[in-house]
Symmetry: C2
Subunit: 220 residues, 2 copies
DNA sequence: AATGTGCCGAACCGTACCGTACGGTACCAT
DNA sequence: ATGGTACCGTACGGTACGGTTCGGCACATT
Protein backbone atom coordinates (compact mmCIF):
# COMPACT_ATOMS: atom_id res chain seq x y z
CA UNK A 1 0.00 0.00 0.00
CA UNK A 2 1.65 3.11 -1.16
CA UNK A 3 -0.37 6.24 -0.78
CA UNK A 4 -3.37 6.96 1.34
CA UNK A 5 -6.35 7.67 -0.83
CA UNK A 6 -7.40 10.63 1.19
CA UNK A 7 -7.30 12.96 -1.75
CA UNK A 8 -9.99 10.87 -3.47
CA UNK A 9 -10.20 13.34 -6.31
CA UNK A 10 -8.73 11.83 -9.41
CA UNK A 11 -8.22 13.28 -12.84
CA UNK A 12 -10.85 12.41 -15.43
CA UNK A 13 -8.38 10.10 -17.10
CA UNK A 14 -7.79 8.29 -13.82
CA UNK A 15 -11.52 8.05 -13.24
CA UNK A 16 -11.87 6.36 -16.60
CA UNK A 17 -9.20 3.87 -15.63
CA UNK A 18 -10.90 3.17 -12.32
CA UNK A 19 -14.20 2.69 -14.09
CA UNK A 20 -12.63 0.20 -16.42
CA UNK A 21 -10.97 -1.60 -13.54
CA UNK A 22 -14.27 -1.82 -11.70
CA UNK A 23 -16.00 -3.25 -14.74
CA UNK A 24 -13.20 -5.76 -15.08
CA UNK A 25 -13.55 -6.72 -11.43
CA UNK A 26 -17.31 -7.08 -11.68
CA UNK A 27 -17.05 -9.25 -14.73
CA UNK A 28 -14.27 -11.60 -13.82
CA UNK A 29 -13.57 -11.29 -10.13
CA UNK A 30 -10.23 -10.60 -8.59
CA UNK A 31 -8.45 -13.10 -10.79
CA UNK A 32 -9.24 -10.93 -13.79
CA UNK A 33 -8.01 -7.76 -12.15
CA UNK A 34 -4.36 -7.95 -13.10
CA UNK A 35 -2.34 -4.86 -13.76
CA UNK A 36 -1.72 -5.97 -17.31
CA UNK A 37 -5.40 -6.56 -17.93
CA UNK A 38 -6.32 -3.14 -16.53
CA UNK A 39 -3.72 -1.43 -18.66
CA UNK A 40 -4.91 -3.29 -21.74
CA UNK A 41 -8.58 -2.62 -21.13
CA UNK A 42 -8.05 1.03 -20.26
CA UNK A 43 -5.57 1.72 -23.05
CA UNK A 44 -2.97 2.95 -20.68
CA UNK A 45 0.45 1.70 -19.72
CA UNK A 46 1.34 -0.16 -16.58
CA UNK A 47 3.87 2.55 -15.94
CA UNK A 48 1.08 5.09 -15.65
CA UNK A 49 -0.85 2.83 -13.33
CA UNK A 50 2.08 2.65 -10.97
CA UNK A 51 2.74 6.35 -11.27
CA UNK A 52 -0.84 7.23 -10.40
CA UNK A 53 -1.66 4.66 -7.76
CA UNK A 54 1.76 3.62 -6.60
CA UNK A 55 0.86 0.04 -6.03
CA UNK A 56 -1.63 -2.63 -6.92
CA UNK A 57 -3.12 -2.30 -3.46
CA UNK A 58 -3.29 1.43 -3.95
CA UNK A 59 -5.16 0.85 -7.18
CA UNK A 60 -7.61 -1.48 -5.48
CA UNK A 61 -8.17 1.00 -2.68
CA UNK A 62 -8.78 3.69 -5.27
CA UNK A 63 -11.38 1.49 -6.93
CA UNK A 64 -13.16 1.06 -3.61
CA UNK A 65 -13.28 4.74 -2.79
CA UNK A 66 -14.23 5.48 -6.37
CA UNK A 67 -17.24 3.20 -6.22
CA UNK A 68 -18.21 4.44 -2.77
CA UNK A 69 -18.16 8.01 -4.05
CA UNK A 70 -20.55 6.97 -6.79
CA UNK A 71 -23.10 5.44 -4.44
CA UNK A 72 -23.42 8.21 -1.93
CA UNK A 73 -26.76 8.63 -0.29
CA UNK A 74 -29.03 9.44 -3.12
CA UNK A 75 -32.45 10.77 -2.21
CA UNK A 76 -31.38 12.01 1.18
CA UNK A 77 -34.18 14.51 1.13
CA UNK A 78 -36.73 13.45 3.69
CA UNK A 79 -40.21 14.83 3.44
CA UNK A 80 -41.49 13.91 6.87
CA UNK A 81 -44.81 15.54 6.80
CA UNK A 82 -47.03 12.68 7.80
CA UNK A 83 -46.60 9.31 9.49
CA UNK A 84 -47.44 7.68 6.19
CA UNK A 85 -44.72 9.58 4.34
CA UNK A 86 -42.21 8.72 7.02
CA UNK A 87 -43.05 5.07 6.72
CA UNK A 88 -42.69 5.46 2.99
CA UNK A 89 -39.22 6.90 3.55
CA UNK A 90 -38.29 3.83 5.56
CA UNK A 91 -39.54 1.60 2.78
CA UNK A 92 -37.56 3.51 0.21
CA UNK A 93 -34.50 3.19 2.37
CA UNK A 94 -35.02 -0.55 2.60
CA UNK A 95 -35.35 -0.95 -1.13
CA UNK A 96 -32.27 1.18 -1.68
CA UNK A 97 -30.32 -0.88 0.82
CA UNK A 98 -31.27 -4.16 -0.79
CA UNK A 99 -30.62 -2.77 -4.24
CA UNK A 100 -27.16 -1.57 -3.34
CA UNK A 101 -26.16 -4.74 -1.53
CA UNK A 102 -27.35 -6.95 -4.36
CA UNK A 103 -25.76 -4.82 -7.04
CA UNK A 104 -22.90 -6.38 -8.96
CA UNK A 105 -20.43 -3.67 -8.03
CA UNK A 106 -21.13 -4.00 -4.34
CA UNK A 107 -20.91 -7.76 -4.49
CA UNK A 108 -17.64 -7.71 -6.41
CA UNK A 109 -16.02 -5.22 -4.05
CA UNK A 110 -17.24 -6.98 -0.94
CA UNK A 111 -15.96 -10.26 -2.28
CA UNK A 112 -12.63 -8.66 -2.96
CA UNK A 113 -12.38 -7.10 0.48
CA UNK A 114 -13.54 -10.23 2.29
CA UNK A 115 -11.20 -12.43 0.33
CA UNK A 116 -8.30 -10.21 1.34
CA UNK A 117 -9.46 -9.70 4.91
CA UNK A 118 -7.27 -12.48 6.21
CA UNK A 119 -4.12 -10.63 5.19
CA UNK A 120 -2.62 -9.21 8.29
CA UNK A 121 -2.93 -5.46 7.87
CA UNK A 122 -5.31 -5.53 4.94
CA UNK A 123 -7.05 -2.16 4.78
CA UNK A 124 -9.73 -3.18 2.29
CA UNK A 125 -12.16 -4.47 4.86
CA UNK A 126 -11.81 -1.36 6.96
CA UNK A 127 -12.17 0.73 3.83
CA UNK A 128 -15.39 -1.01 2.91
CA UNK A 129 -16.79 -0.58 6.39
CA UNK A 130 -15.69 3.04 6.49
CA UNK A 131 -16.81 4.12 3.06
CA UNK A 132 -19.64 1.70 2.52
CA UNK A 133 -21.43 0.83 5.69
CA UNK A 134 -20.89 4.10 7.53
CA UNK A 135 -22.44 6.19 4.80
CA UNK A 136 -25.68 4.29 4.52
CA UNK A 137 -25.71 3.79 8.27
CA UNK A 138 -25.55 7.52 8.80
CA UNK A 139 -28.43 8.06 6.43
CA UNK A 140 -30.46 5.49 8.34
CA UNK A 141 -29.53 7.04 11.67
CA UNK A 142 -30.74 10.49 10.70
CA UNK A 143 -33.91 8.94 9.36
CA UNK A 144 -34.54 7.02 12.58
CA UNK A 145 -33.81 9.94 14.85
CA UNK A 146 -36.11 12.04 12.78
CA UNK A 147 -38.85 9.47 13.29
CA UNK A 148 -38.24 9.47 17.01
CA UNK A 149 -38.38 13.25 17.21
CA UNK A 150 -41.77 13.23 15.55
CA UNK A 151 -42.97 10.45 17.85
CA UNK A 152 -43.38 8.01 14.99
CA UNK A 153 -40.90 5.67 16.63
CA UNK A 154 -39.99 4.88 20.20
CA UNK A 155 -36.55 3.52 20.99
CA UNK A 156 -33.52 4.20 23.11
CA UNK A 157 -30.35 3.57 21.17
CA UNK A 158 -30.15 4.58 17.54
CA UNK A 159 -27.34 2.20 16.64
CA UNK A 160 -29.09 -0.79 18.16
CA UNK A 161 -32.34 0.12 16.48
CA UNK A 162 -30.64 0.50 13.14
CA UNK A 163 -29.02 -2.89 13.49
CA UNK A 164 -32.42 -4.43 14.13
CA UNK A 165 -33.82 -2.70 11.08
CA UNK A 166 -30.88 -3.92 9.05
CA UNK A 167 -31.40 -7.46 10.24
CA UNK A 168 -35.08 -7.43 9.40
CA UNK A 169 -34.38 -6.13 5.94
CA UNK A 170 -31.28 -7.99 4.90
CA UNK A 171 -31.48 -11.21 6.92
CA UNK A 172 -28.98 -13.63 5.41
CA UNK A 173 -29.56 -12.49 1.86
CA UNK A 174 -26.29 -10.59 1.65
CA UNK A 175 -24.09 -13.49 2.64
CA UNK A 176 -25.96 -15.83 0.35
CA UNK A 177 -25.44 -13.45 -2.54
CA UNK A 178 -21.77 -13.11 -1.62
CA UNK A 179 -21.48 -16.89 -1.71
CA UNK A 180 -22.76 -16.89 -5.25
CA UNK A 181 -26.40 -17.78 -4.81
CA UNK A 182 -28.51 -16.26 -7.56
CA UNK A 183 -31.74 -14.79 -6.33
CA UNK A 184 -34.47 -13.72 -8.65
CA UNK A 185 -35.07 -10.26 -7.24
CA UNK A 186 -37.61 -8.57 -9.36
CA UNK A 187 -38.37 -5.03 -8.37
CA UNK A 188 -41.84 -5.87 -7.10
CA UNK A 189 -40.54 -8.63 -4.84
CA UNK A 190 -37.96 -6.26 -3.46
CA UNK A 191 -40.68 -3.80 -2.60
CA UNK A 192 -42.78 -6.49 -0.97
CA UNK A 193 -39.89 -7.72 1.10
CA UNK A 194 -39.08 -4.20 2.18
CA UNK A 195 -42.65 -3.53 3.22
CA UNK A 196 -42.80 -6.75 5.19
CA UNK A 197 -39.60 -5.80 6.99
CA UNK A 198 -40.86 -2.32 7.79
CA UNK A 199 -44.09 -3.83 9.04
CA UNK A 200 -42.17 -6.00 11.45
CA UNK A 201 -39.98 -3.07 12.39
CA UNK A 202 -43.01 -0.99 13.32
CA UNK A 203 -44.31 -3.79 15.47
CA UNK A 204 -41.08 -3.60 17.41
CA UNK A 205 -40.42 0.12 17.45
CA UNK A 206 -43.62 1.82 16.43
CA UNK A 207 -44.61 4.56 18.86
CA UNK A 208 -48.16 3.26 19.14
CA UNK A 209 -47.02 0.06 20.79
CA UNK A 210 -48.05 -0.52 24.35
CA UNK A 211 -44.74 -1.99 25.43
CA UNK A 212 -41.74 0.27 25.73
CA UNK A 213 -38.61 -0.61 23.85
CA UNK A 214 -36.11 -1.06 26.60
CA UNK A 215 -33.98 -3.71 25.05
CA UNK A 216 -30.67 -3.66 26.82
CA UNK A 217 -27.96 -1.85 25.00
CA UNK A 218 -25.38 -4.03 23.37
CA UNK A 219 -21.68 -3.75 23.62
CA UNK A 220 -20.91 -5.16 20.20
CA UNK B 1 -12.10 -29.88 -9.54
CA UNK B 2 -11.42 -33.53 -9.79
CA UNK B 3 -13.47 -35.74 -7.58
CA UNK B 4 -16.75 -35.08 -5.89
CA UNK B 5 -16.36 -35.24 -2.14
CA UNK B 6 -19.47 -37.29 -1.71
CA UNK B 7 -17.67 -40.06 0.09
CA UNK B 8 -16.71 -37.59 2.82
CA UNK B 9 -15.17 -40.38 4.84
CA UNK B 10 -11.44 -40.00 4.81
CA UNK B 11 -8.77 -42.14 6.32
CA UNK B 12 -7.38 -40.98 9.67
CA UNK B 13 -4.21 -39.92 7.94
CA UNK B 14 -6.18 -37.81 5.49
CA UNK B 15 -8.16 -36.33 8.35
CA UNK B 16 -4.92 -35.27 9.96
CA UNK B 17 -3.86 -33.62 6.75
CA UNK B 18 -7.19 -31.80 6.45
CA UNK B 19 -6.91 -30.66 10.05
CA UNK B 20 -3.48 -29.26 9.36
CA UNK B 21 -4.70 -27.57 6.21
CA UNK B 22 -7.59 -25.99 8.08
CA UNK B 23 -5.25 -24.71 10.77
CA UNK B 24 -3.03 -23.28 8.07
CA UNK B 25 -5.99 -21.60 6.42
CA UNK B 26 -7.24 -20.15 9.69
CA UNK B 27 -3.86 -18.76 10.53
CA UNK B 28 -2.74 -17.28 7.28
CA UNK B 29 -5.71 -17.11 4.96
CA UNK B 30 -5.82 -18.50 1.48
CA UNK B 31 -2.42 -17.12 0.59
CA UNK B 32 -0.86 -19.48 3.10
CA UNK B 33 -2.75 -22.51 1.84
CA UNK B 34 -0.36 -23.66 -0.86
CA UNK B 35 0.08 -27.30 -1.65
CA UNK B 36 3.74 -27.10 -0.70
CA UNK B 37 2.91 -25.50 2.64
CA UNK B 38 0.29 -28.14 3.40
CA UNK B 39 2.66 -30.93 2.53
CA UNK B 40 5.38 -29.40 4.66
CA UNK B 41 3.13 -28.76 7.66
CA UNK B 42 1.44 -32.14 7.47
CA UNK B 43 4.63 -34.11 6.86
CA UNK B 44 3.31 -35.61 3.70
CA UNK B 45 4.30 -35.34 0.08
CA UNK B 46 2.56 -33.30 -2.53
CA UNK B 47 2.20 -36.45 -4.55
CA UNK B 48 0.03 -37.91 -1.82
CA UNK B 49 -2.07 -34.78 -1.70
CA UNK B 50 -2.80 -35.08 -5.38
CA UNK B 51 -3.40 -38.81 -5.10
CA UNK B 52 -5.91 -38.32 -2.30
CA UNK B 53 -7.72 -35.19 -3.37
CA UNK B 54 -6.99 -35.06 -7.07
CA UNK B 55 -6.67 -31.34 -7.27
CA UNK B 56 -6.10 -28.23 -5.23
CA UNK B 57 -9.77 -27.44 -5.53
CA UNK B 58 -10.60 -30.96 -4.45
CA UNK B 59 -8.44 -30.45 -1.40
CA UNK B 60 -10.20 -27.19 -0.57
CA UNK B 61 -13.58 -28.81 -0.99
CA UNK B 62 -12.47 -31.62 1.29
CA UNK B 63 -11.45 -29.07 3.91
CA UNK B 64 -14.90 -27.49 3.73
CA UNK B 65 -16.82 -30.74 4.12
CA UNK B 66 -14.38 -31.81 6.81
CA UNK B 67 -15.06 -28.71 8.88
CA UNK B 68 -18.79 -28.95 8.26
CA UNK B 69 -18.81 -32.53 9.48
CA UNK B 70 -17.16 -31.34 12.68
CA UNK B 71 -19.76 -28.69 13.40
CA UNK B 72 -22.91 -30.72 12.93
CA UNK B 73 -25.85 -29.80 15.03
CA UNK B 74 -24.66 -30.38 18.51
CA UNK B 75 -27.28 -30.42 21.22
CA UNK B 76 -30.08 -31.31 18.86
CA UNK B 77 -32.01 -32.81 21.73
CA UNK B 78 -34.93 -30.54 22.44
CA UNK B 79 -36.61 -30.82 25.78
CA UNK B 80 -39.80 -28.95 24.98
CA UNK B 81 -41.68 -29.51 28.16
CA UNK B 82 -42.54 -25.96 29.08
CA UNK B 83 -42.75 -22.64 27.26
CA UNK B 84 -39.80 -21.48 29.28
CA UNK B 85 -37.65 -24.40 28.25
CA UNK B 86 -38.61 -23.89 24.62
CA UNK B 87 -37.61 -20.28 24.83
CA UNK B 88 -34.38 -21.41 26.41
CA UNK B 89 -33.83 -23.72 23.46
CA UNK B 90 -34.21 -20.77 21.12
CA UNK B 91 -31.69 -18.80 23.14
CA UNK B 92 -29.23 -21.67 23.07
CA UNK B 93 -29.68 -21.91 19.34
CA UNK B 94 -28.96 -18.21 18.99
CA UNK B 95 -25.80 -18.41 21.04
CA UNK B 96 -24.67 -21.44 19.05
CA UNK B 97 -25.34 -19.66 15.79
CA UNK B 98 -23.38 -16.59 16.80
CA UNK B 99 -20.58 -18.72 18.20
CA UNK B 100 -20.24 -20.74 15.02
CA UNK B 101 -20.40 -17.74 12.71
CA UNK B 102 -17.80 -15.82 14.71
CA UNK B 103 -15.50 -18.81 15.05
CA UNK B 104 -12.16 -18.55 13.26
CA UNK B 105 -12.74 -21.69 11.21
CA UNK B 106 -16.09 -20.50 9.94
CA UNK B 107 -14.71 -17.07 9.12
CA UNK B 108 -11.71 -18.49 7.29
CA UNK B 109 -13.80 -20.87 5.21
CA UNK B 110 -16.45 -18.29 4.41
CA UNK B 111 -13.74 -15.85 3.36
CA UNK B 112 -12.25 -18.50 1.14
CA UNK B 113 -15.58 -19.41 -0.45
CA UNK B 114 -16.65 -15.80 -0.91
CA UNK B 115 -13.31 -14.83 -2.35
CA UNK B 116 -13.64 -17.60 -4.92
CA UNK B 117 -17.35 -17.07 -5.55
CA UNK B 118 -16.73 -14.92 -8.61
CA UNK B 119 -15.08 -17.78 -10.45
CA UNK B 120 -17.53 -19.02 -12.98
CA UNK B 121 -18.42 -22.50 -11.80
CA UNK B 122 -16.90 -22.23 -8.39
CA UNK B 123 -18.48 -24.88 -6.19
CA UNK B 124 -17.20 -23.54 -2.87
CA UNK B 125 -20.00 -21.11 -2.30
CA UNK B 126 -22.60 -23.75 -3.06
CA UNK B 127 -20.73 -26.16 -0.82
CA UNK B 128 -20.78 -23.69 2.05
CA UNK B 129 -24.47 -23.04 1.60
CA UNK B 130 -25.19 -26.73 1.27
CA UNK B 131 -23.11 -28.02 4.12
CA UNK B 132 -23.09 -24.99 6.35
CA UNK B 133 -26.30 -23.05 6.16
CA UNK B 134 -28.61 -25.93 5.37
CA UNK B 135 -27.57 -27.94 8.39
CA UNK B 136 -28.13 -25.23 10.95
CA UNK B 137 -31.19 -24.05 9.06
CA UNK B 138 -32.70 -27.49 9.33
CA UNK B 139 -32.07 -27.55 13.03
CA UNK B 140 -33.77 -24.19 13.37
CA UNK B 141 -36.70 -25.31 11.23
CA UNK B 142 -37.44 -28.35 13.37
CA UNK B 143 -37.17 -26.18 16.44
CA UNK B 144 -39.58 -23.60 15.05
CA UNK B 145 -42.10 -26.15 13.83
CA UNK B 146 -41.94 -27.79 17.18
CA UNK B 147 -42.77 -24.47 18.81
CA UNK B 148 -45.68 -23.97 16.47
CA UNK B 149 -47.04 -27.43 17.17
CA UNK B 150 -47.06 -26.69 20.88
CA UNK B 151 -48.68 -23.31 20.29
CA UNK B 152 -45.69 -21.41 21.57
CA UNK B 153 -45.33 -19.67 18.24
CA UNK B 154 -47.74 -18.56 15.57
CA UNK B 155 -46.54 -18.20 12.00
CA UNK B 156 -47.25 -19.36 8.52
CA UNK B 157 -44.08 -20.09 6.63
CA UNK B 158 -41.20 -21.75 8.43
CA UNK B 159 -38.50 -20.54 6.07
CA UNK B 160 -39.63 -16.93 6.25
CA UNK B 161 -39.86 -17.10 10.02
CA UNK B 162 -36.42 -18.60 10.28
CA UNK B 163 -34.99 -15.86 8.11
CA UNK B 164 -36.50 -13.27 10.41
CA UNK B 165 -35.05 -15.02 13.42
CA UNK B 166 -31.69 -15.16 11.69
CA UNK B 167 -31.83 -11.45 10.91
CA UNK B 168 -32.71 -10.52 14.45
CA UNK B 169 -29.84 -12.59 15.81
CA UNK B 170 -27.06 -11.98 13.33
CA UNK B 171 -27.90 -8.54 11.91
CA UNK B 172 -24.80 -7.31 10.08
CA UNK B 173 -22.38 -8.85 12.52
CA UNK B 174 -21.40 -11.66 10.18
CA UNK B 175 -20.42 -9.46 7.30
CA UNK B 176 -18.54 -7.11 9.59
CA UNK B 177 -16.58 -10.02 10.99
CA UNK B 178 -15.92 -11.29 7.48
CA UNK B 179 -14.55 -7.86 6.58
CA UNK B 180 -12.08 -8.11 9.40
CA UNK B 181 -13.71 -6.09 12.13
CA UNK B 182 -12.75 -7.37 15.55
CA UNK B 183 -15.63 -7.51 17.95
CA UNK B 184 -15.16 -8.08 21.63
CA UNK B 185 -17.62 -10.91 22.03
CA UNK B 186 -17.41 -12.06 25.55
CA UNK B 187 -19.66 -14.97 26.37
CA UNK B 188 -21.97 -12.89 28.56
CA UNK B 189 -22.53 -10.31 25.86
CA UNK B 190 -23.31 -13.08 23.42
CA UNK B 191 -25.96 -14.39 25.78
CA UNK B 192 -27.42 -10.93 26.28
CA UNK B 193 -27.58 -10.28 22.57
CA UNK B 194 -29.22 -13.63 22.00
CA UNK B 195 -31.84 -12.99 24.66
CA UNK B 196 -32.61 -9.58 23.24
CA UNK B 197 -33.06 -11.11 19.79
CA UNK B 198 -35.34 -13.83 21.11
CA UNK B 199 -37.32 -11.21 22.97
CA UNK B 200 -37.91 -9.33 19.76
CA UNK B 201 -38.67 -12.56 17.96
CA UNK B 202 -41.38 -13.42 20.45
CA UNK B 203 -42.92 -10.01 20.01
CA UNK B 204 -43.26 -10.82 16.33
CA UNK B 205 -44.12 -14.49 16.43
CA UNK B 206 -45.16 -15.28 19.99
CA UNK B 207 -48.48 -17.10 20.11
CA UNK B 208 -49.84 -14.76 22.76
CA UNK B 209 -49.79 -11.82 20.39
CA UNK B 210 -53.09 -10.34 19.39
CA UNK B 211 -52.15 -9.78 15.77
CA UNK B 212 -51.83 -12.72 13.47
CA UNK B 213 -48.61 -13.19 11.57
CA UNK B 214 -49.75 -13.04 8.00
CA UNK B 215 -46.70 -11.53 6.46
CA UNK B 216 -46.84 -12.24 2.79
CA UNK B 217 -44.68 -15.10 1.67
CA UNK B 218 -41.54 -14.11 -0.08
CA UNK B 219 -40.28 -15.37 -3.35
CA UNK B 220 -36.59 -14.97 -2.58
C1' DA C 1 14.99 24.46 -33.31
C1' DA C 2 15.95 22.53 -28.97
C1' DT C 3 14.65 20.77 -24.69
C1' DG C 4 11.62 18.71 -21.38
C1' DT C 5 7.52 16.13 -19.95
C1' DG C 6 4.02 12.81 -19.86
C1' DC C 7 2.45 8.84 -21.75
C1' DC C 8 2.10 4.36 -24.48
C1' DG C 9 3.52 -0.14 -25.93
C1' DA C 10 6.43 -3.82 -25.19
C1' DA C 11 9.95 -6.33 -23.39
C1' DC C 12 12.02 -7.92 -19.37
C1' DC C 13 13.09 -9.78 -14.47
C1' DG C 14 12.25 -12.08 -10.27
C1' DT C 15 9.23 -14.71 -7.79
C1' DA C 16 5.54 -17.73 -6.47
C1' DC C 17 2.89 -21.55 -7.20
C1' DC C 18 0.52 -25.65 -9.39
C1' DG C 19 1.13 -30.04 -10.98
C1' DT C 20 4.25 -33.91 -12.07
C1' DA C 21 8.19 -36.91 -11.98
C1' DC C 22 11.79 -39.37 -9.80
C1' DG C 23 14.64 -41.55 -6.32
C1' DG C 24 14.52 -43.70 -1.93
C1' DT C 25 12.23 -46.11 2.11
C1' DA C 26 9.17 -48.87 4.97
C1' DC C 27 5.90 -52.43 5.12
C1' DC C 28 3.32 -56.43 3.56
C1' DA C 29 2.31 -60.73 1.01
C1' DT C 30 3.85 -64.66 -1.39
C1' DA D 1 14.38 -63.25 -1.12
C1' DT D 2 11.16 -61.06 -4.30
C1' DG D 3 7.75 -58.29 -5.87
C1' DG D 4 4.13 -54.85 -4.92
C1' DT D 5 2.23 -50.89 -2.66
C1' DA D 6 2.10 -46.73 -0.41
C1' DC D 7 4.49 -43.06 0.99
C1' DC D 8 8.07 -39.19 1.73
C1' DG D 9 11.24 -35.62 0.18
C1' DT D 10 12.84 -33.02 -3.43
C1' DA D 11 13.44 -31.20 -7.68
C1' DC D 12 11.73 -29.57 -12.13
C1' DG D 13 8.70 -27.64 -15.95
C1' DG D 14 5.40 -24.44 -17.09
C1' DT D 15 2.88 -20.53 -16.18
C1' DA D 16 1.16 -16.31 -14.29
C1' DC D 17 1.77 -12.04 -12.25
C1' DG D 18 3.81 -7.80 -9.90
C1' DG D 19 6.85 -4.39 -10.77
C1' DT D 20 10.70 -2.11 -13.64
C1' DT D 21 12.94 -0.45 -17.61
C1' DC D 22 13.45 1.23 -22.26
C1' DG D 23 12.40 3.13 -26.77
C1' DG D 24 9.41 6.10 -29.10
C1' DC D 25 5.77 9.55 -29.83
C1' DA D 26 3.10 13.80 -29.07
C1' DC D 27 2.97 18.13 -27.24
C1' DA D 28 4.28 22.12 -24.64
C1' DT D 29 7.78 25.50 -23.18
C1' DT D 30 11.75 28.43 -24.08
Amino acid sequence: MAQSAEAQDFTPRQNDVLETALALLVEGGERALTTAAIARAANCSKESLYRWFGDRDGLLAAVITFQASKVRTDATGISPLTPASFRESLTIFSVDLLSVLSGPSSLALNRLAIGQASREGSPFGRLMLERGRKIIGTRAATLLEHGRQHRYLAYEDTETTYQTLYGLIVRDVHVRLLLGETINARRTDLKKQAEAAIDQFYRLYGADNQTVNTTSKETG
